[in-house]
């Protein structure tokens, strides 16, 4: 983490106190704000091999595999609805012809995950 600037707020003084009668209190203690630079970790999870797994790269454009692998045992119909939401709402570049094999793959993968 990189600390580059601080915005000091010396003009705001006084100890903060919260009175239960009012949800909000005034004159809280000042807070200094520093610029932030961080790195976010890279996902360590990956889709298991199997028919249809070659299509999952398109899922990874927007999210890591964990979101899929931690789902309950959804039916193929439910997976189809999820995939179509990703295509229609978020613009996932998944072809019509990929929906059936991808949903079949997820149905199997999610069933296999349930013992975890």
């Amino acid at each position: 983490m990189n600390i580059r600037h601080a915005i000091a707020l010396s003009m705001i003084v006084g100890a903060g106190s919260l009175s239960p009668a009012f949800a909000q209190s005034t004159h809280p203690a000042p807070i200094a704000i520093h610029s932030v630079s961080v790195d976010l970790p890279v996902s360590q999870s990956s889709f298991p091999p199997g028919p249809g797994s070659e299509l999952t790269g398109k899922c990874l454009i927007c999210h890591s595999a964990g979101m899929v692998l931690k789902q309950p045992a959804l039916t193929q119909e439910e997976w189809t609805a999820e995939i179509n939401k990703m295509r229609k709402v978020y613009g996932a570049p998944i072809d019509d012809s990929d929906v059936a094999p991808l949903s079949a793959y997820f149905t199997k993968v999610s069933a296999d995950q349930q013992s975890k």
Binding site: H5, A23, T26, A32, V36, L40, C62, S64, K116
Partner: protein, 413 residues
């Protein structure tokens, strides 16, 4: 920052098996010892295995639900430690993966525009010096907190009960900023946008809106402070919208744009997502169709036992404490009741310090298990509007607004 955990260490496994006894002396630490150590945790539903990760910036041990965009759950033992959830353990939930990781506090600007007399562009320094600074203690809870406990299960982020937290939020009233800009007649809603984006151009930005009257109620805030420090980046640095009593979906992170609209917002995140059935407890029958939906809004009361877990062992005839947290949702806590016999008899608990109506409230009671066997402990909150937690779990296809009375089965030995 990284620390290796070895959950397969046989000596630790043995310790975990034997550490669950709680008696009048409480010498072994029970649930606390259980929670602090393992590399993975198992949430109480199928496919509930979660890695405990320390890989995220400004965050300590968190349950990893998704790396990108991050979804991190607060391990439940944290809630036993106090009313305020530490910033480095506070849950994290992002929708879109293009999240800035370098934010210059001096260059950052908050823009306010739309149906106003005078658009504003505010630096952090201006925001902090030109308006009155206020602070509020409030619970921030994901709409889908506890979704993994829905039965039948539903798709979505599979949280247990840790997609919530309570913090002191420091900032300015949204009302004061809106009044400075001057809302024009005919304004309908105020829309909020953060610095995050989707990775695909087609992905809709995450935009949320509140009615003008709500935005101007004097409680909704633009905050830079969380528990006396700047917001962690993953909790929305540098600014976050605070909507006390409402679900977290409205608490827009990395807030940099406020737009006053002259009509109701029709964007995806308001019109299509985060909708609940317009029914009692937002509940419908599994498979039910054709019900009216409305945007999710006010929170409902919840309460939890935090010092005893499913399967913990307690000693017959020895007094021990049962304790936990409660919150009233959109109102304060009036009473927290508990039961040690599966809900047949209820007793009032002792409420601890009041940090304001939107905060967690700690409660405790003395528990002296009588006979050996299994005890089902239950807790329920009743808020100051007289709303109490229901005995039956709600169900809806999005897994929102769970607030059923929780129970914990303990073994009396």
């Amino acid at each position: 920052m990284s620390q290796k955990w070895n959950g397969n260490d046989p000596s630790r496994r043995q310790f975990l098996k034997t550490a669950g006894w709680l008696g009048s002396i409480g010498a072994l630490g029970g649930a606390k010892a259980l929670a602090a150590e393992p590399a993975t945790a198992h949430l109480p539903f199928a496919n509930g295995e979660r890695e405990l990760t320390r890989a995220f910036p400004q965050k300590g041990d968190m349950l990893l639900l998704r790396t990108r965009p991050p979804m991190l759950e607060t391990p439940f033992d944290v809630f036993d430690q106090g009313v305020f959830t530490p910033n480095n353990r506070f849950f994290v939930r992002w929708h879109l993966a293009d999240i800035p990781t370098n934010i210059d506090a001096e260059a950052f600007r908050l823009n306010l525009h739309g149906h106003v007399d005078k658009p504003l562009t505010l630096s952090l320094k201006e925001l902090m010096s030109e308006f009155e600074t206020v602070e509020i203690a409030a619970v921030n809870q994901c709409s889908g907190n506890s979704r993994g406990l829905f039965n039948p299960r539903v798709a979505g982020g599979q949280w247990a009960n840790g997609a919530m937290g309570c913090a002191k939020w420091t900032g300015v009233r949204l009302k004061d900023i809106l009044d400075k800009a001057g809302i024009r007649a005919g304004a309908a809603q105020v829309r909020f946008k953060g610095l995050d984006h989707g990775t695909l151009p087609a992905t809709p930005d995450f935009l949320k809106s509140l009615d003008v009257d709500h935005a101007r109620d004097g409680e909704v805030m633009v905050a830079w402070g969380m528990n006396g420090e700047q917001l962690p980046l993953l909790n929305g640095f540098p600014l976050r919208l605070i909507v006390p009593g409402w679900y977290s979906t409205y608490w827009v992170k990395m807030l940099d744009d406020i737009e006053v609209l002259d009509a109701a917002d029709t964007n995806f995140w308001m019109a299509k997502a985060y909708l609940i059935p317009d029914t009692p407890h937002a509940s419908v029958m599994p498979g039910q169709k054709g019900f009216k939906s409305v945007p999710i809004n006010r929170m409902v009361p919840r309460s939890f036992i935090t010092n005893l877990r499913e399967g913990d062992k307690v000693l017959a005839g020895h007094a021990t404490q049962v304790r936990g947290i409660a919150f009233g949702g959109d109102a304060g806590i009036a009473k927290v009741m508990w039961s040690s016999d599966g809900g047949a008899r209820w007793e009032e608990t002792k409420l601890e310090q009041d940090h304001g109506k939107y905060a967690f409230r700690r409660w405790h009671a003395q528990y002296t298990p009588k006979a050996k066997g299994e005890n089902t402990l239950m807790v329920k909150a009743i808020n100051t509007n007289g709303i109490e937690q229901p005995a039956e779990a709600n169900w809806n296809p999005s897994g929102f607004m769970r607030n059923v009375i929780e129970s914990v089965k303990v073994q009396v030995g």
